[in-house]
Amino acid sequence: MTDAADSVVALRNISLGYDGRLVISHLSGDFVRGSLTAIVGPNGAGKSTLLKGIVGLLRPSEGIIDRARLRGGTIAYLPQLPDIDRSFPISVIDTVLLGHWRQIGWAGAATRRSSELARRALAAVGLEGFERWQIEALSAGQFQRVLFARLILQDAELILLDEPFHAVDWRTSEELLSLVAGWQQEGRTVAAVLHDLDQVRAYFPQTLLIARECVAWGLTQEVLVPQNLRRARNLSGTWSAAVQGFGVIPVPDLIEPSR
């Protein structure tokens, strides 16, 4: 598939599941350094499960997930529905600064440099001037931007995103997508679970198509072909409507309330 020497995370015949119920079986492959990979598949295909396995929140019941080549770099992970309490009394800037947790820890003070980086990250996601806002005052799209600013601050070598655009409007997802593309240009490795195949074709050079097992993994135009999509559908039985037409999932065009 790919040259293992370039691999940041190598999956060696891994199986993942919960309480003995297998979700992914016998998946092998590599996330190549500096690659930008979309992970697609039907509902219940094991996409989120795979990300949890790579982060280390879930141990494979079989096989090895080799992260040894991370060269001391870290993994940043944005779950699909983070169990975040959005009414929590915390400011935007403090939320972003959590990205420096590894430097600051339990008791360290945020340095002036940290604060400067956090401000710049907020500017990069289009939230300049929101530093002192409380997060409960933000819209869903704005809050997702804050989480992306935190990802920027984490400065991770491998970034894993689980359906990062599912609750945000079109403009926000376009802006965040170009941010993701920029991460790749900085040499980071990015993998994102996505549903919108047009988005995948436009922005993601690599695609992993899974349906409880690997259907195809490689260049996006070679992976997202009708016979692969059909096979994925047959493997899982519950393909979403979009893939049946090999088209786009109609994403609800949420309009952010203007402030």
Binding site: L57, P82, D83, I84, D85, P89, I90, W106, A107, Q154
Partner: protein
């Protein structure tokens, strides 16, 4: 009679009133922040569950040592921690949710505690353990309450940041290796310690009131976390002071009097507080309509 006379004279005159007030001051310092975290973690019923869980330990301590504070306290702490540990295990190993497993254990504890008390003590003893007697606080009890409050504040200072992140975004803390599990365990221990400190004064069933009611009321006045902590402690202290005076003048049991004053503060906050109270919501709606 002047206000000064009404509010201060009993304190000047009677040592037990002074001790009671100092004990409440210490309790308020510890209970304020702990109650605040319970509220924002949506764990309000956990405090209640743990307060019941303390009872059988205290009862065993009472049977073994009579009205000896160290033995009763030790028993209470041990039982509280045991219940926290066991229900944590049940939550982790089975599909039962945390609130349900806590409820199961505290109901068992309560029944066991009352049963143990009735085999040995008289009804008066049971009532004493359930509802406390703040006016009978002696010096060792005062020192114990003060020590627990100091320990709580110092520990909270150390675990403050991870505790906040654990409440706000536990998933994130897990991925960056922030020690969420340890923080949760330390926090549960602090709850148990404060409940045991409180039950000497207010009784096992009332102790949790000084933790929860001021914290729940504070949410209707201030927004930021430091302010919530401070406001909870201040409300707890004010309730304790007023409750003590009420119990002194009207000859009421002090524990329920204090908690009822805190309850009145809570209702007032719900009605007229500055954030999200019924009054604030009403004004907001009227502002939108006009």
């Amino acid at each position: 009679m002047t206000l000064y006379g009404l509010a201060v004279a009993p304190l000047v005159e009677f040592g037990f009133m002074r001790r009671a007030l100092v004990g409440c001051l210490a309790l308020a310092f510890g209970c304020g922040p702990i109650g605040t975290f319970l509220v924002i973690r949506r764990m309000s019923l956990m405090g209640d569950a743990l307060s019941h869980a303390v009872l059988p330990g205290a009862a065993i301590g009472f049977i073994l040592g009579g009205f000896s504070l160290p033995v009763i306290s030790l028993g209470g702490v041990a039982a509280g921690l045991l219940v926290a540990l066991l229900s944590g295990l049940v939550t982790r190993l089975t599909p039962l949710r945390e609130d349900a497993s806590f409820a199961a254990f505290y109901l068992i504890s309560l029944a066991l505690g009352v049963l143990l008390m009735s085999t040995r003590g008289s009804n008066v003893d049971v009532l004493h353990l359930l509802f406390g007697s703040i006016l009978a606080i002696d010096d060792p009890a005062l020192i114990f309450i003060g020590a627990v409050a100091s320990l709580s504040l110092m520990t909270l200072a150390v675990i403050y940041r991870p505790l906040v992140v654990e409440c706000f975004d536990p998933g994130f803390l897990r991925t960056v290796g922030g020690g969420g599990g340890a923080v949760h365990a330390i926090f549960l221990t602090l709850i148990v310690l404060n409940l045991v400190a409180g039950f000497q004064a207010l009784g096992t069933l009332m102790a949790v009131g000084l933790m929860m009611l001021p914290a729940a009321a504070a949410r209707f006045w201030v927004r930021e976390l430091w302010a919530l902590n401070a406001a909870s402690s201040a409300l707890a202290l004010a309730s304790a002071f007023l409750g003590l005076l009420l119990s002194y003048y009207l000859d009421l049991p002090s524990g329920p009097a204090i908690i009822l004053v805190a309850g009145v503060a809570y209702f007032v906050s719900v009605l007229v507080g500055s954030r999200g109270s019924l009054r604030a919501l009403y004004l907001q709606r009227r502002g939108r309509e006009s």
